[in-house]
């Protein structure tokens, strides 16, 4: 008789608490029942879903945020629950493997116990097993797949396109894909994906006539049931990323067109309608309350690992909203019971992908080895050693961001530095070498030029206010889904609950107040303007790391927060 999943998790937790070394496959093997990742079959229509893998083909560490503040109606609700608040909301035990999978708590020790997460060879095995149990199950990818690693950058996304096809992705929706440029996106969709992967986006249209650029949705049949999958690209791609990559296309949320597509799919006979979305969870929750006739929204963008689907009521029914984290760390499985032409029930699980618990798929492992081979020596260059935990994710500065802004200030000779609040970037444990590969995880984009500009105190405040409103505007349709811009040198106070232009105060530099009229030298990277030149950010940071050699305890520069003392989006 095999153990239940819960019993197994308890065994693991007890073993870990007892000091048993669980960081090797051998140690784990004796404790892992063969059916750890087997879920009892339910219903007759199944979807598997991953999102925001950011081109991480191999297992990595990824620390969930300790600060993910929700404002307005989102305060204290999923996905704005971190740490203990998350455990409490979902009834997870502290110290359990799931507590580690979904929170930052005791991260270093737990990561050493449970090992790395994700990896396409491991994901491939898991997907094959689930497909075997659920013939015809569809694999959905919410995008941010072709960006985030050195190899994705050097192969212009080709390594990931090959991996998606091997993995058996059926449908995908886009965001960072567009930073490869419109022509490259069209080339992949029209040639590489032809006959295998549907690239869907109802909200990308030509700027002149408003014609659809991609298929808005695709219809599939599963166990005899017609299913429609509607695509939603990241609505603010040309705002958050350089517009010059897609000059002839326009985006936006486009609820009304979404409703039209839902109605059209239903009129063509779809009994299940799902949205594959890169809106971000807060936008998905709002969209679910406005657009009717959608059974499930499978979401990404905001990298929220949400254990359960959130039911949202709208004028004609209920829509389930999910978000599946990032970096290949999770696989969502949605089983629907469809009878008499409609969804009668569902079961959803967001499975963490623990690499030590899954045998890697040989074909995928060989493929990854092959695509990496020409770049291995470059990727493996050891730039420095870290003695601290390095991560990015969180509303404000992460420790790896601190290294980036420190490097920018030192190498560029700046008074202060800005670094974008991206949510991708892997985690390094104390004692890990900082290789070129790990640095590229944090920096690899197609507009990497570093800049040094003179900005007045007023301009600096305007930038902070603008980005802060993109994060904390109480209406999700006015948010962009990234985190707050990271700052080096500058200290400030932030009041997330205030209105735009009223959130930032007490800006100081080396103990002196910022003068609105004085000019300061500001270093940065990832400008959204066209024709920006400068050394790529990874070269600037690599130079800094080679000189420093050892990163000791990182001194994190984060703002003083006001008015959010009891917010459940802040870890205790």
């Amino acid at each position: 008789m095999s153990m239940s999943r819960r019993e197994f998790l308890e065994v693991l937790a007890v073993a870990a608490a007892g000091g048993m070394a669980l960081d090797s496959r051998e140690a784990l093997a004796g404790n892992v029942p063969k059916n750890f990742y087997e879920l009892p079959k339910y219903g007759n229509v199944s979807f598997m879903h991953f999102t925001d893998c950011h081109a991480q083909l191999l297992p990595t560490y990824f620390r969930e945020p300790s600060v993910n503040i929700g404002v307005g109606a989102a305060s204290g609700k999923v996905p704005h629950l971190v740490g203990e608040h998350f455990l409490k909301a979902f009834g997870l035990k502290p110290g359990s493997i799931e507590a580690h999978a979904f929170t930052y708590l005791d991260f270093t020790a737990a990561a050493k116990t449970y090992g790395k997460v994700g990896g396409f060879a491991h994901l491939a095995t898991l997907i094959k097993n689930i497909r075997a149990q659920r013939p015809g199950a569809l694999l959905l990818d919410s995008g941010d797949t072709w960006q985030g690693s050195g190899t994705a950058y050097w192969t212009n996304g080709a390594d990931m396109v090959g991996a998606q096809k091997m993995l058996g992705v059926n449908v995908m929706a886009p965001h960072w894909e567009f930073t490869l440029g419109a022509d490259r996106v069209k080339e992949i969709v029209e040639k590489d994906f032809k006959g295998s992967i549907d690239f869907v986006a109802q909200n990308v249209k030509t700027a002149d006539f408003g014609d659809q650029v991609f298929k808005p949705y695709t219809m599939k049949v599963m166990n005899g049931i017609p299913v429609a999958i509607i695509g939603q690209a990241f609505p603010y791609t040309p705002v958050a990323n350089p517009r010059h990559f897609t000059p002839d296309w326009t985006f936006g949320i486009q609820d009304d067109n979404m409703q039209k597509m839902v109605d059209e799919a239903r009129s063509k006979g779809a009994k299940v309608v799902v949205v594959l979305s890169h809106n971000g969870m807060d936008v998905d929750l709002k969209m679910a309350s406005r657009v009717t006739g959608v059974d499930v929204i499978f979401g990404g963008h905001t990298h929220d690992a949400v254990l359960q689907a959130v039911p949202v009521k709208n004028p004609k029914g209920t829509t389930l909203v999910t978000n599946a984290g990032s970096n290949g760390k999770y696989l969502g499985i949605m089983d629907l019971d469809v009878r008499n032409g409609k969804v009668q029930g569902y079961k959803y699980r967001l499975l963490p992908v623990f690499s030590n618990l899954i045998e890697p798929d040989h074909a995928m492992a060989n493929y990854i080895k092959k695509v990496r081979a020409p770049y291995e020596s470059k990727l493996n260059e050891k730039l420095a050693i870290t003695e601290d935990l390095l991560y990015r994710r969180g509303n404000f500065n992460g420790t790896f961001d601190q290294i980036i802004v420190d490097a920018l200030m030192e190498v560029k000779g700046a008074d202060l530095a800005f670094s974008p609040g991206f949510r991708w970037g892997t985690t390094l444990l104390p004692g890990d070498p900082i290789t070129m590969e790990r640095l590229l995880d944090q920096t690899c984009i197609t507009y990497p030029a570093t800049t040094l500009n003179e900005m007045s105190g007023t301009q600096i405040k305007d930038v902070l206010e603008d980005v802060c409103d993109n994060l904390f505007n109480p209406d999700p349709y006015y948010q962009q889904g990234g985190d707050m811009v990271r700052v080096g040198g500058l200290q400030y106070t932030c009041s997330p609950n205030q209105k735009v232009n009223k959130r930032i105060s007490n800006m100081t530099l080396r103990g002196k107040s910022i003068d609105p009229n004085k000019k300061y030298l500001v270093a940065g990277w990832a400008s959204v303007q066209e024709n920006v030149t400068g050394t790529p950010v990874w070269d600037v940071v690599a130079e800094y790391l080679r000189n420093v050699k050892v990163i000791k305890k990182v001194k994190l520069n984060t703002p003083t927060l006001v008015g959010v003392a009891n917010n459940q989006g802040i870890g205790t």
């Binding site: 002149d208 040309p238 990323n241 974008p420 505007n473 400008s527």
Partner: protein, 156 residues
Amino acid sequence: MNSKRRSFLKTAGTAGSVAIAAAAGLIKPTEVLAVEWNKNAFAAKGVPDALKAVGAVGAADSKDILIKAPDIAENGAVVPIEVTSKIAGTSAIMLMVEKNASPLTADFNLSNGAEGYVSTRIKMGQTSNVRAVVKAGGKYYTTTKEVKVTIGGCGG
């Protein structure tokens, strides 16, 4: 199909293509409709003065006017705006960008029972309410929608 339509528009100088171009917001409405140019209204500073200059002081809020515009503008220099008025007898639709130095941006005159619908591109210097003012049966109605103009970057 798209490319054919594009080349058709480039080469054809027919009245029909001009109408399409106007609907798509490619040319200024004033080039299509030879109406009298209300210079004072377009030069007015601030919404109260602009409303006064077009004679729409005290316009009533109406849920029968729909503004379709992006929540966040992709490019403040060309923000696509569509206004649909369901009010019977709509004879004019005006657009005002409240925080632009001169708010009145467009004044469309509709005649002979034309559908109460206009589509255009407007310029916005900063985050602002966009106000639509509709004239129907000699009365004025209005509604607003906020459009955010941001510096950009840092998403994802």
